[in-house]
């Protein structure tokens, strides 16, 4: 037998791995993973939302928003991250940039689509009542576009959570460590632990996002105002077309 068998207790269930003292403590990995995810999402949102709002409101440069989705999807994350590491060196930076680039298209596209989908009659009514341009955008268009914008964010979050594992590939922390180390140490259970934790985290984040969505999206738009039976199903972005899980 060439390789060691997995230890008796599966990695995920070994209490040892959950303590702070462990070389790779799972809580710490989760924390780091969340940090990368949050950082990437915040930066991506800070870029994509204003641009999406501009394009969606004015209708100008629409091709940017339409093509962003496709180009974003077709960029191989592993290639991107390798490229950045070689170009600017190791550390958090290249991984973060790759994640941000990954997260921008879904947010941008959905913000644009959300604004485009706003009933023109409501915008017309807003103007007709004497709202100024920015008032129209923020008090009418954005609230109505929120469900789509949120699903774009959720999509982006899911992709980033899954892809943040590549950070480990270039030596950073996060749950990717379990995959990369498991691979290097030939511990199947460690890889499984990584996969399970990432998937669990994705579900958790999606649930939280759903809760957030309930809070921020007006019931009048989300369909929750309608009777339960007639309720418009709002698909979880988990089930939505997403892309680019990697590493």
């Amino acid at each position: 037998m060439i390789v060691r068998l997995a230890t008796d207790t599966p990695y995920l269930l070994d209490p040892e791995n959950w303590t702070d003292s462990a070389v790779t403590s799972i809580p710490e990995l989760i924390g780091t993973h969340l940090l990368y995810t949050a950082l990437a999402l915040v930066i991506a949102a800070a870029i994509a939302i204003p641009v999406g709002l501009f394009i969606g409101h004015t209708g100008r440069l629409a091709f940017v928003a339409i093509n962003a989705g496709n180009v974003g999807r077709s960029l191989p994350t592993l290639g991107l991250i390798s490229f950045l590491v070689v170009l600017i060196g190791g550390g958090l930076f290249p991984a973060l940039i790759a994640l941000v680039i990954l997260a921008i298209p879904p947010i941008l596209t959905s913000t644009y689509a959300g604004l485009r989908a706003v009933d023109p009659a409501a915008v017309d009514a807003a103007r007709g009542m004497g709202m100024r341009e920015l008032q129209t955008v923020f008090t009418v268009e954005v609230p109505m576009a929120l469900p789509l914008m949120m699903s774009g964010l959720r999509n982006a979050a899911l992709q980033v959570v899954a892809t943040a594992t590549v950070a480990a590939y270039v030596g950073l922390g996060g749950l990717g460590r379990l995959l990369v180390d498991g691979l290097a140490l030939n511990q199947y259970d460690r890889v499984v632990a990584g996969a399970v934790l990432v998937a669990a985290l994705a579900i958790l984040i999606d649930l939280l996002a759903e809760l957030l969505q309930r809070v921020v999206v007006s019931p009048g738009v989300s369909g929750r105002a309608v009777t339960r039976r007639a309720r418009v199903a709002h698909p979880s972005p988990l089930t939505e077309v997403s892309s680019g899980t990697a590493a």
């Binding site: 077709s74 960029l75 191989p76 490229f83 070689v86 691979l183 988990l238 680019g244």
Partner: protein
């Protein structure tokens, strides 16, 4: 860059052809599997949400992890391209089930009723009315799946079967941009090309979506 391409022509071509195989076989398999599942999800409405949740869950598993877990489940060899193909097929199915279901659900009930009222029987109605009308939505989903698959294949390089991904790992090890750039460009080009092919197929298969509607 040119030098690199010339010097490594064989390596690049081999990587590219592996990439194409690894990306496209799952698309075909995935589409074939997703079609009946999507149909069932529409036929039996209660299946719709559970099926979508499962596919969403599958999609959130990191690809590297899936590549590594699959041989443990299906008993293939560790380096077998089958692992990558199965994993990507899983993603494709996860993505397309929803699309197929939504496509079929997008068919106007009035149209299917009109078909029945004109004397269509069930099966013929499905193939001659519902399926063609759902095609645009399905093909749009297929485009997404294809492009996503092409970019995902390269992750396989971390376990030695990654098509153009090998150029990324090599470039990283040698701290050498050329192979990385060549890999990215080829991967993106391949994605764009496949996308284009599907668009062309779509134009042929669904001429009615191209005509200009009246305001």
């Amino acid at each position: 860059m040119i030098d690199y391409v010339i010097a490594n022509e064989n390596v690049i071509l081999a990587a590219l052809s592996q990439h194409i195989m690894l990306a496209l076989v799952p698309i075909v398999l995935g589409a074939l599997i997703a079609l009946p599942i999507g149909f069932l999800a529409v036929r039996y409405g209660w299946l719709y949400h559970p099926l979508l949740n499962v596919s969403g869950l599958l999609y959130s598993i990191p690809s590297l992890a899936l590549f590594l877990i699959i041989p443990g489940i299906i008993g293939t060899k560790i380096l077998s391209p089958i692992n990558i193909i199965v994993a990507l097929t899983v993603y494709t199915v996860a993505l397309l089930v929803r699309v197929v279901a939504d496509g079929l659900r997008s068919v106007d009930g009035i149209v299917t009723q009109a078909a029945s009222a004109m004397g269509y029987r069930r099966i013929r109605r499905f193939f001659e009315v519902e399926l063609p009308i759902a095609l645009p939505v399905m093909l749009a989903g297929l485009r997404v799946a294809t492009v996503a698959n092409i970019s995902l294949v390269s992750v396989g390089a971390l376990i030695g079967v990654g098509g153009l991904g090998a150029l990324f790992t090599r470039g990283l090890q040698l701290r050498y941009l050329d192979p990385i750039i060549v890999g990215i460009v080829l991967s993106v080009l391949l994605a764009v090309l496949c996308d284009l092919v599907i668009v062309l197929v779509q134009r042929r298969l669904t001429p009615w979506t191209r005509v200009k509607g009246r305001s």
